[in-house]
């Protein structure tokens, strides 16, 4: 994998910052995207994150003192056997699960101090989700499904429908705007899901086994689409257990027992 084509300062990103001493606690408004200093700041930064299930003897550490930074514009694949903590990591990155210990920053926003509403607002503004089983909402048509993240924002943009139309066009579904999910093929549904993940122009796109339910030809099309998005500067984190898929990404992060096994 080559270096990040859009990043002139590769040292600032993708590094295992095992002993990060960032004590500054910043909670700026969502729009605070000012870069600090030379390179781009990391989009997602984990500092000593642990996720513990159960307690006492039955304690399970899904993530164990995990520290990492995902840089702006990077394309990461996360791999690991089941139980390695990759799903938990993705949930923490997606702000739908909170770490038991440690800090997680999306851009400069410290998530630990946010309440449920703020975290939801953060998801609707800064994160895009792509799931294995597409997870479109059955009673909504394509256009409505794409705009779902916007309607939950505190101040939804006025041009939401125009954006959704452009994105549907972008993923090749401009002629299917009024179709319901069940009228679409798996690949088409996943394209709608991708358009939905892009509608809020997120800091981070999180894909969970995004090609797991697709045949190999369609899977390749979707992966091509990811490459295009990455080339446009999108930050993508993809969880997969298929080595082929992992190879497609720029960087590969392997997990084992809630810790980092290797970084490529």
């Amino acid at each position: 994998m080559s270096d990040d084509p859009a990043n002139g300062d590769p040292a600032s990103s993708g590094t295992v910052s095992g002993a990060t001493s960032s004590l500054e606690v910043i909670t700026p408004p969502w729009t605070g995207r000012t870069s600090s200093g030379s390179g781009r700041p990391p989009v997602a930064r984990l500092e000593g994150v642990s996720k513990v299930y159960g307690d006492g003897d039955s304690e399970v550490r899904a993530l164990d003192d995990f520290s990492f930074e995902f840089g702006q514009g990077e394309y990461w694949a996360i791999m690991g056997s089941s139980g390695s903590g990759k799903s938990t990591l993705l949930n923490v990155l997606g702000c739908i699960d909170r770490p038991s210990r440690g800090d997680y920053f999306v851009r400069d926003t410290r998530t630990a101090t946010l309440d449920d509403d703020d975290l939801s607002e953060l998801r609707s503004r800064e994160l895009g989700f792509i799931f294995q089983s597409y997870n479109l909402i059955p009673q909504l048509d394509v256009l409505e499904n794409i705009t779902v993240p916007l309607i939950y924002q505190d101040r939804p943009p006025k041009d939401g429908n125009d954006r959704a139309r452009r994105l549907a066009e972008r993923v090749g579904l401009g002629h299917r705007l009024t179709h319901r999910p069940k009228e679409l093929s798996g690949g088409q549904q996943q394209r709608v899901a991708i358009a939905r993940a892009l509608i809020n122009d997120p800091a981070l796109i999180l894909a969970d086994e995004a090609t797991g339910n697709l045949d190999s030809k369609t899977a390749l099309e979707i992966l091509d689409l990811f490459d295009e998005l990455n080339a446009e500067g999108k930050t993508i984190i993809l969880v997969t257990h298929e080595p082929d898929v992992g190879e497609r990404a720029q960087h590969l992060l392997k997990l084992k027992d809630g810790r980092i096994e290797s970084v490529e």
């Binding site: 997606g94 739908i96 998801r123 609707s124 799931f131 009673q139 909504l140 939950y152 939905r196």
Partner: protein
Amino acid sequence: MLLQTVSRAVSLGVRSLLLHRLRSLLTTLGVLFGTSSVIAMLAIGEGASAEAYEQIRQLGSQNVILRSVKPPESVNSSGGGSGSQVVMYGLTRADHRRIEETYPALDALVPVRELSQEVRHRDRVASPRVLATAPNYLDVTGRFLLKGRFFDEKDEQAVANVCVLGSELERHLFPTQSALGREVRIGGNYFTVIGILAPRVRLSDDPAQAGEDTTDELLLPLTTGRKRFGDMTVRQRAGSREMEQVELHELILAVDDASSVPFVAGASRRLLEMYHPKNDYEVVVPLELLARAEETKRIFNIVLSSIAGISLLVGGIGIMNVMLATVTERTREIGIRRALGAKRRHIVLQFLVECVVLSVVGGAMGVGLGLLIPIAVEHWADMRTIVTPLAPILAFTISAGTGIVFGIYPAWRAATMDPVEALRHE
């Protein structure tokens, strides 16, 4: 902006409900029947009590009415006899005099005697209620004349052959002309018509209700009645002749003040007790009837609100049940929405809106059905019903409120789900 949010929420709710048409329909039925039964029962209750009030009002709320009643023993004795036996019972002119002497402060004391006579004009025959009474009859009964005049003391003293017709009777005997100044034959005597009585004022315009011969009456002076027809009444009944001698059928005591009605009623009872051991009278006190009617209405209202409350409770539980099932079924959708940024209040709103849509649709249909039921009842059961404007509004508001109250718990359950768990749900 808010309007847009609400309309989107409603449209989404409707679409989600349409995914399970039968289930949604069955759920609305609970609310529908609850709402319609509230309206129907209110209408029937209002109608019944209005009917009761009106009957009481016609008797006069400040009146005490003494009536002759045929004692049961005499019915038996005359029934087994040859048929020529004369039955004597009821109020007497002596009672009239005694009451007059006991209560000089009464507003009015009106004796009424009912005659059993046919009334004829040329070849037309009618059998109205023929009442012999005093000139102040109109004052105590609240009736009034359409035209002409009522008989006065002079007519009474002169034992004049004059009479007042009810408007119904006038129409029957004189279909093409006014009866005023003309003569009708009662028994063997001719009477000059001097006035026409107005129909009783009724709340209902329904002709089927108003047509109860309420104005099929003829009034004449008490003195004339006694002189021309005596105290004896002969009734032809089932082949046997029955003769009765009743001096007065009714004594109407008009009291000047409603607060002294109970006193006058009690004293009249004691007075009549002394002179009528046969118990051949009754004392009717409209004010007491009114109190009883009010008590009945109060009980009815309690029963009604219990039934309404229970039926809406059942409807509400139905809604809650279905919504809990829906929430479980749509756990994954909730997880997706939460992951995409929905806040808890968005999820609460979404499911609450569905509950409100269910209950409002049910409530609206219930109002429709509830307005039809009283019409059907009037038509088939011949009962009076009154739909007050408040009833549909009240019923609809309660049903919509039911949706909110019983929707809160399922909506809260949906909103407090853990997004990670919800997304994992199959």
